[in-house]
Amino acid sequence: MTDAVTESTSPPDAGTADVPWSRLSHRTIWVDLAQTLLALSPTALAVGVFGVDPTLDALWPLLGVAVVGVLGAVSNVLRWIFTRYRITPEYVERRSGVFVRRYRSVRRDRIRSVDITARLRHRVAGLRVVLVGAGQQLVSGESALRLDAVVKADAEALRRELLATSEVAAVSAEEVADDGDGAAADGAADGGAAAGAAGTGHTEVLARFRPWWVVYNVVSVWMFFSAAGLLWGAYWLVRTFGYDPMPWVGDLLDPDVRGLPASVAIAVLLTGAIGAVVMAVNFFTVNWGYELARVPGQKTTQLRTRHGLFTTREVNRDERRLRGVYLSEPLLWRWMGMADTQVITTGLSAFSPSQPAAILPRGPVSVARPVAAAVLGADPDPLGAPLARHPRGALRRRLWWATWVAAVVTVTLGWLSFNDILPATLIWCGAGVWLVGLVLAVAAYRALGHAVVDDYLVVRSGATSRATVVLRRDSVSTIALRESILQRRLGLRSVTAMTAAGWGAYQAPDIGREDALAFAVEAAPGLLDPFVERVPASPGQPLGGD
């Protein structure tokens, strides 16, 4: 198998020497110049306007900003000078590197995604960053090839050329912008027709941004982290300008004045509120103008998402590489129907922090389900199918595990307090752990379910977050049945379907022993047939591979 991406220090033979090399857009230079001025301005402002003493002690946070900004701009200019790219009939090639010359090429038939993104500074200058993905497991979700940056029109042309989408698609994409809001609901409603739209040259919008989704995105643990980051940054900034807010904060939270519980409550509520505002602002800036659409092309259709207020991001996913969808619903927010929606597809890293597999922002499950169904375009809808419940043994196994963990915690705490390291009252934490464990065990049991619907297998599981996976049966490459000693006693087996897409492995835990085999046989059509035999049923006979 030839590598899709090759990297070397020199270009190969000049077989395609006739194709000229192009530079990245010269506008990046102006952007870098602006960035330099911007990076220097806080220092200039502090010294020139506010009269802060120009000592290293007082100015180091601002100087840090200035140094990082200027160095970034200078290295960007150097990168622009030394980078060239070209597109030959077979390859996309890029030469780069200031001191070490690097040459990278991506085979065009291996290109699986072409994403266009832009930060605010790019958008001001009409630039776009093009990320070419070849489905390779490179270092930490890195794109196969990155062009930073080209003019917007060039980026669009590159994407069209590399993905071989037709002119029709581009035209209809423009038209859709004028369409009413009804298109989203229509698209979501008739999932069966969705697949039929492929090749007809009409862009179909499956979902659009709804501002009220913000309520699903403000409350999470991250709000405390973002609030802490913001407060820390603000603290250093006002310190630099000669104001120390510490006494004021000390007054507000003085435990002697208000009592400890009130102080803690004020601190938590204040940071929580600040964090919620930060999260809301973040949600709007990231997801503004969200649109999920099915865009037809010559060979295949693309699932396209576009979003972003300042930094825009467009991701195109080849539908030929789509293997299923993944819906997860966090337990704590089940009452408000919160869900994350992702596609299971090859060539997109599920581990990437930018989450290219997410096709919807975190939002209501009442939207997520129809959209996921429309993306699958399967009839009958696998997400709507009733799932087979798992035997009571699965509940017993979870209760056993919860009890075991609580017992270990209690014994450890007991031993530590026996040795006078911890106060004896902490042993009661063990009881708390047990209670939480039992609740999670029941929740995890109730989440269990599996089914085979037409061409798809459906598995559902998870304690703190219930994940529903719909996976195409013909994409299953390895099937595994697992049985631990406890599972053996309870008559259970777990079935894992492995695939090249998404997380790589999806498990249906704790199915009854005979049902597990039947499910495994159906999940990977034909794979287990040579290894399965039919035996006359007689009571007491051990089943399975004993």
């Binding site: 994409s475 390895t478 790589g504 046989v521 794979l527 040579p530 006359p536």
Partner: protein, 177 residues
Amino acid sequence: MDPDDDLTDSSGDAPTLLRLRPPTNPVDPRALRWWRLRALCSAGLVTAVLGVTTWLWEPGRPWLAVPLVAAALWTVARVTFEPRIRYAVHRWETTDQGIYGLSGWVVREWRAAPLSRVQTVDAVRGPLEQALGLATLRVTTASSSGAVNIVGLDKDLAAELAERLTVITEQIPGDAT
């Protein structure tokens, strides 16, 4: 579709049940020694380090007693029981369509992969395996977690199997995703 439909076959006189038969071939008897040595090198080493620390560092003894006893018991279990259970459990089989392995001791696992999805076939040999003349047959698919490993094979058999499976997989078109 209800999975129960396939479970009982109503066409015959007596109802029949599906049964996953074990793969046909056992592993090489030298694997017993390999598993024993492997247990000594991992669990045994931890026990030895803990034991020496307990012996030399007197104030730490109340802390190290419980981990030392646990590590010692674990080592005994892995040296005496694990190899025997594994030798009884581990089996493998290859056909022209797929590869099928059964492995494990505390947790048993049946794993099957079709050769049409196989990406690489290798005979891998670690230092202990080299000393014993053994090899592991490693068959990887496009799934990052979908590899089928068959441990404790004779090195010549593993090399021959790797060659045969590679020839078969090369004849199957497609990019195996």
